[in-house]
């Protein structure tokens, strides 16, 4: 790791101090239990999104009024809501909205951010200064406010929310990608590639980009979790999917009216969100350690 640790939420890692410190090194051959659990959680939720029918037989939209507000038990793992819908079925079927939204968000941030960072770091000079000022401006507005501004512009909806969240993460990707590109740009093999007559674009694509991507991939994993969090927040505020859709944030928002009597409506879907975001963070750290 050359000083570029994965920044925490909100692009923290500044300061530029080299980081040796006490890095906990795992003894060879021991299985990292936390990491395995993290991959299991992500894998399970991915399966939920792809084949929800395997995990629950209940319908996520149509409820059985006679079975309303049942607490969690053998029949209904997460209980049922006010119109008798199985909450677990809604969480399982809702995963596709959260995951695809997060994928779009990370895609937007990764693509735009890496492109900006690559250009700034490779071109240098005025272009670099200009791009980094734009990044400064993006960083000066909190992510949620930036997302809300984009939502005012595009209107509410699942895709728009995902794009809004993605735009909020462009700055973090751009800054990290630029730092990496600047580092790789100075290495001997890049100089050699230029020296042996490689064109600017070709060298960038063949040598600079692949060698700069490690930390960026780690950030992408971290942002995947952050995007799930942000999307569920915007869903909770009512800017995401329309009501019958079992989106995670919306699910929790709907459960708010039954706080006094039915704790499971808000607590259990929220716990799923926490598990997925934690898992994404854990995976991100392992990628950062291996490739950074």
């Amino acid at each position: 790791m050359t000083g570029a640790s994965v920044p925490g939420a909100g692009g923290v890692g500044s300061g530029g101090v080299p980081v040796p410190a006490r890095v906990a090194r795992r003894p060879r051959g021991r299985v990292p239990v936390g990491l395995v659990v993290a991959w299991l959680v992500v894998g399970l939720v991915l399966l939920w999104a792809v084949v929800p029918g395997l995990f629950t037989a209940y319908d996520p939209i149509a409820g059985v009024p006679a079975e309303k507000l049942r607490p969690p038990g053998a029949g209904h793992l997460f209980g049922t809501d006010a119109v008798g819908r199985d909450v677990f079925a809604r969480v399982v079927h809702g995963s596709v909205h959260s995951l695809s939204g997060a994928l779009v968000a990370v895609g937007v941030g990764l693509l735009l951010g890496t492109l900006l960072g690559l250009l700034a770091g490779a071109a240098g000079g005025v272009a670099d200064a200009a791009v980094m000022r734009v990044v400064d401006v993006l960083l000066s507005v909190p992510g949620l406010l930036l997302a809300l501004t984009v939502i005012i512009l595009l209107g509410p909806g699942t895709v728009n929310v995902a794009i809004a969240v993605g735009i909020g993460s462009v700055a973090a990707f751009a800054r990290l990608a630029r730092a990496e590109v600047v580092r790789v740009r100075r290495t001997d093999y890049v100089e050699a590639a230029f020296g042996s007559g490689g064109r600017f674009g070709a060298v960038l694509w063949r040598h600079v980009l692949p060698n700069s991507l490690g930390p960026v991939v780690a950030l992408a994993a971290l942002q995947f979790g952050a995007a799930i969090l942000a999307i569920s927040t915007l869903g909770f505020l009512g800017y995401g999917a329309e009501p019958p859709t079992p989106e995670w944030g919306l699910l929790i928002a709907e459960g708010r009216n039954y706080l006094a009597t039915s704790w499971w409506l808000t607590t259990l879907p929220g716990a799923v969100v926490v598990a997925v975001v934690l898992a994404a963070g854990r995976i991100s750290r392992s990628i950062g350690r291996e490739r950074g």
Binding site: G8, A9, G10, G11, V12, S14, G15, V17, V19, P20, A21, R22, A24, R133, V134, D136, V137, L139, S140, V141, P142, G143, L144, L145, L146, L148, T149, V150, I151, I152, L153, G155, G225, L229, S232, T233, F236, L237, Y239, G249, I252, A253, G255, R256, L259, A260, W263, T266, T267, G270, V273, V274, V277, L278, G281, R282
Partner: protein, 310 residues
């Protein structure tokens, strides 16, 4: 030193101006139409012609003149009029600001306390499992959706334990849960950076020297290590302040409190662009000013940086 200050202040002003311009342009591109949202209601019985007149009333001479007018307004402290309520944006902000300021400042203090406790406990504990557990707390904190945490707190403290009344209650009682909700996610990055900074300082050669002279572990941590770890922590703390305003959107919605966050939510729903513009510029201003302050404080707190800054 003066030159450093001036150039940093200039940069800050530039970022703020760019943030204003970017959000102005973005919000002007709006395909939706706040004037239509407010006046198209058939009950108002407005003819298309009258709506056109209203539109002319709100619109300026040309886009550029509009921009110059708005920018001049922001510089002189007049943020225009809310399209939703028709009142000056300044009034709405002034109404909402004290509530949010109280919430955010209390939450920030609590976040710092939580972060210091986690980082100190982690670096002081000798058992590695305890240290690992404490260091993973921040990752948990940033993975918790703030709105869910707020709901959970209401459920536990208001409905189960009945410690905090849902409705009514004293000022302090009303503030406790929202402050906790806002503080938890903000404490995480501060704790992470403080813990890492403490580790870095421990790796420096002066620490064994002090220990060899007979200083106790606590004395080393408090008098020498923590002092040196303050600088990077200050940087992150500055970065999180902007998040307080964003966090207040969620917190105020969950707890039904008035404030900047609620104002933002209303502005988004009504596509009230002047209010949204003012909120975004306010958040950017807080962020830029606080970070400028941190940069200015750096050479004062750490004399070693004076040479570098000049």
């Amino acid at each position: 030193m003066t030159r450093y200050l001036l150039s940093r202040a200039g940069q800050a002003a530039l970022v703020l101006w760019a943030a204003f311009t970017a959000s102005y342009v973005l919000l002007q591109l709006l395909p939706g139409d706040s004037i239509l949202i407010k006046f198209q209601n058939p009950e108002l019985g407005l003819s298309p012609q009258q709506i056109a007149e209203i539109r002319a009333y709100y619109a300026g001479a040309s886009p550029l003149a509009d921009y110059a007018h708005t920018l001049l307004g922001f510089l002189t402290g007049s943020f225009g009029y809310s399209i939703d309520t028709g009142t000056p944006v300044v009034e709405r902000l002034a109404e909402a600001l004290p509530e949010t300021a109280r919430l955010a400042s209390a939450a920030f203090l609590l976040a710092v306390v939580i972060a210091v406790v986690i980082a100190f406990a982690a670096s002081y504990s000798s058992a590695s499992w305890l240290r690992g557990a404490l260091l993973s707390v921040p990752s948990l904190f940033i993975s918790v959706p703030a709105f869910w945490l707020g709901i959970l707190l209401i459920q536990i403290f208001s409905f189960r334990l009945r410690l905090v009344p849902v409705i009514g209650g004293s000022e302090v009682q009303q503030l406790v849960l929202p402050v906790l909700t806002l503080a938890v996610p903000i404490s995480a990055p501060i704790a992470q950076v403080l813990a890492r900074a403490i580790d870095q300082v421990y790796a420096q050669p002066f620490v064994p020297v002090i220990a060899a002279k007979g200083a106790s572990r606590w004395w080393i941590l408090w008098r020498h290590v923590a002092r040196n770890a303050v600088l990077p922590t200050l940087t992150v703390a500055g970065l999180t302040l902007g998040e307080l305003i964003a966090g207040s959107v969620v917190t105020e919605t969950v707890f039904g409190r008035a404030g900047i966050g609620r104002l933002t939510e209303q502005a988004v729903n009504a596509q009230d662009t002047p209010v949204m513009l003012a909120v975004v510029v306010l958040a950017a201003a807080v962020f830029v000013l606080v970070n400028l302050l941190v940069d200015v404080l750096f050479p004062i707190l750490d004399p070693r940086l004076k040479g570098a800054a000049a």
